[in-house]
């Protein structure tokens, strides 16, 4: 049994505590510890990604066997998500250090590491209640990060965000209690067998619980009509925090995929039937929001909502091909949204506001405009970047005329919105006012460059990545190996 599986949870927890205890007033030490931690986490994630190809591996906490103790399960999907979190956290951390965001409030790095711990734990755990606990860990860290730096609007948006998520947590608990009341277990692999073996009479309760659970994940994934928290939160959060939050919506998608394929495959006609129209509405709302936003950060937030819609649409199809496409799009949209949120922050620092109206030209205008172009091309799904490949994969997996119409029209509207924003910010700028000087911040640009390089890498290596994701999707849709790794029998 490899003890590396628990490292992505324990390491950030220990480092975060160390930062609070030992490096309270020393920002340089905090930065050092956090950066080393994030890089080591990236290395561990790469190691686990390699290890996961051998099949699911279970780590028993306290060495209690599966249905009685809590287990962590490393399979291809969880390893992929760990790598995505680690790969996102390093550039974001470099950006934070390069721009000095961490000096605007206290405990940024400790909260950042706790956030990573919550994310990693949520992706690794094989126990439904433990999933709730890790959700809370990542949420409470995100509350702190969201209001980092303070300010009236940020605090107000923060209260809405916390209230919305507390309600989500309450619903999560009700769903879990119902599931436990019906099946008597909360281990996911055990649930898979128990739910499949339920007599007809008890199926009503489990259906209600499954739908409530999916509602909770839809809140996290910002699926219409549960997306109201996202634009305000992401637009008011500090730029790099919003970039990290790009992976938080994906926690919702991950949980839907995990619970859907493992525990509720028999209930998928019900769940998928609800997901599909909601996903289409999300795509439409995201595209319209991009077109209608008068503020760059809100525009990016709506673009992120739209991408979640496409992701959930692919998930709702519930086939190996569609799930593989969804996973590819998941990686892509996380990176693309992060790039755009970081650029929005660069623009905010240079213009003093995010309103989409002509203003004085910015320092480093050409570089920011070029990076924005790359991010916008990726986000809208234009060739040559990975957004195009991702959308193509989803469309191939769902060859229905209405799906193609919705995706293509929404892409067009999104492109229009992004093009308008870019031309107002970067071209009309030359016509008015004096340029305010601003330091160059090579680290910050390097961080954005790293993320763009990730998008390019995802495009260039689309072949091997898709092959790997197809294997992942096949393993998800045939969870016998996952259940056997828990020492349990398949239904």
């Amino acid at each position: 049994m490899s003890h590396w599986i628990i490292a992505p949870v324990v390491l950030p927890a220990v480092l975060a505590a160390l930062i609070v205890l030992l490096a309270r007033g020393n920002l340089a030490a905090q930065r050092g510890i956090a950066l080393v931690g994030a890089v080591v986490l990236l290395a561990i994630a790469a190691l686990l990604l390699l290890a996961s190809t051998a099949g699911p591996e279970v780590y028993r906490l306290g060495n209690w066997p599966a249905p009685f103790g809590i287990v962590l399960v490393l399979d291809r999907l969880s390893a992929l998500m760990l790598a995505l979190v680690a790969g996102l956290s390093v550039p974001v951390l470099i950006y934070v250090i390069g721009t000095g965001w961490d000096a605007r409030g206290r405990h940024f790095h400790a909260l950042f590491l706790f956030q990573l711990m919550g994310l990693n734990g949520a992706f690794l755990t094989g126990d439904a209640f433990n999933l709730f606990v890790f959700f809370e860990v990542l949420l409470i860290a995100s509350y702190g990060l969201m209001i980092h730096g303070g300010g009236r609007d940020r605090l107000r948006a923060g209260v809405q965000y916390v209230a919305f998520n507390l309600l989500g947590s309450t619903l999560f608990l009700i769903a879990l209690a119902t599931i436990y009341a019906v099946t008597g277990t909360l281990n996911m692999a055990d649930l898979a067998g128990k739910v499949a073996a339920l007599p007809e009479g008890e199926a009503g309760l489990i259906r209600a619980a499954a739908v409530m659970l999916m509602l909770v994940f839809a809140v996290k994934g910002a699926l219409v009509p549960l997306q109201f928290w996202l634009p305000g939160t992401y637009a008011n959060a500090p730029g790099p925090v919003a970039a990290l939050f790009a992976v938080m919506t994906k926690v919702g998608a991950y949980a839907v995929i995990r619970m859907g394929t493992l525990v509720f495959p028999g209930l998928w006609p019900l769940i998928g039937g609800m997901l599909e129209p909601a996903a289409v509405a999300t795509i439409v709302l995201g595209a319209l929001g991009v077109l209608g936003s008068r503020n760059l950060a809100r525009l990016v937030a709506f673009a992120a909502i739209g991408s979640m819609g496409l992701l959930f649409l692919a998930v709702s199809a519930f086939s190996v091909q569609a799930t593989a496409a969804a996973l590819y799009y998941l990686i892509h949209s996380t990176l693309a949204a992060a790039v755009l949120f970081l650029l929005a922050d660069l623009v905010l620092e240079r213009r003093g506001g995010l309103a989409l109206q002509a203003g004085a030209p910015m320092s480093q205008l050409g570089l920011i405009a070029g990076l924005f172009m790359a991010g916008a091309v990726a986000m809208a799904g234009m060739p040559p970047l990975s957004g195009f490949v991702g959308k193509l994969l989803v469309m191939q997996a769902m060859p229905a005329a209405w799906v193609w119409t919705v995706i293509l029209l929404a892409s067009f509207v999104t492109m229009l919105g992004l093009a308008r924003a870019g031309s107002v910010l970067f071209w009309k700028a030359h016509e008015t006012g004096e340029m305010a000087p601003h330091p160059a911040q090579p680290l910050a640009f390097g961080a954005v460059g790293l993320l763009v390089a990730g998008l390019i890498g995802l495009t260039v290596f689309a072949g091997p990545v898709t092959a790997w994701l197809t294997l992942t999707a096949e393993a998800l849709h045939a969870p016998a190996a996952y259940i056997a790794a828990n020492g349990l029998e398949s239904p």
């Binding site: 809370e136 605090l155 916390v162 209690a177 436990y180 009341a181």
Partner: protein, 108 residues
């Protein structure tokens, strides 16, 4: 007994949802607390109601009560307590910085 617990959960939930839909932060937080109480009792009841029985298997007793929901409830109480503390502080910060405690008031 079942009816009593069910009614209590229902009343707490109804009150919680009503308060949560109010405009100002204080009733909203109270509503969230009521909801978390409701949910705690609900989790507790998920292990079936078995009055007067120990949470371990004891040959001398007629049966046992499921200990797992009690552990779950403990976790849920701790988490909701912590979260309530966080939202109280954030609401206070928001009120002090803007002089207004409406949840969705204010300009963009």
């Amino acid at each position: 007994m079942e009816a009593l617990v069910a009614i209590a959960i229902g009343l707490l939930t109804a009150g919680g949802i009503y308060l949560m839909l109010r405009q100002r932060t204080y009733p909203v937080i109270l509503g969230l607390s009521l909801l978390s109480y409701a949910v705690n009792i609900f989790i507790f009841a998920a292990g079936r109601l078995a009055p007067g029985l120990p949470p371990i298997i004891d040959k001398a007793q007629a049966g046992y009560t499921d200990p797992l929901p009690q552990a779950l409830v403990l976790t849920a109480i701790v988490i909701s307590f912590g979260m309530t503390a966080v939202i109280v502080l954030m609401a206070l910060g928001s009120f002090l910085s803007s002089g207004d405690d409406r949840v969705d008031g204010g300009a963009e």
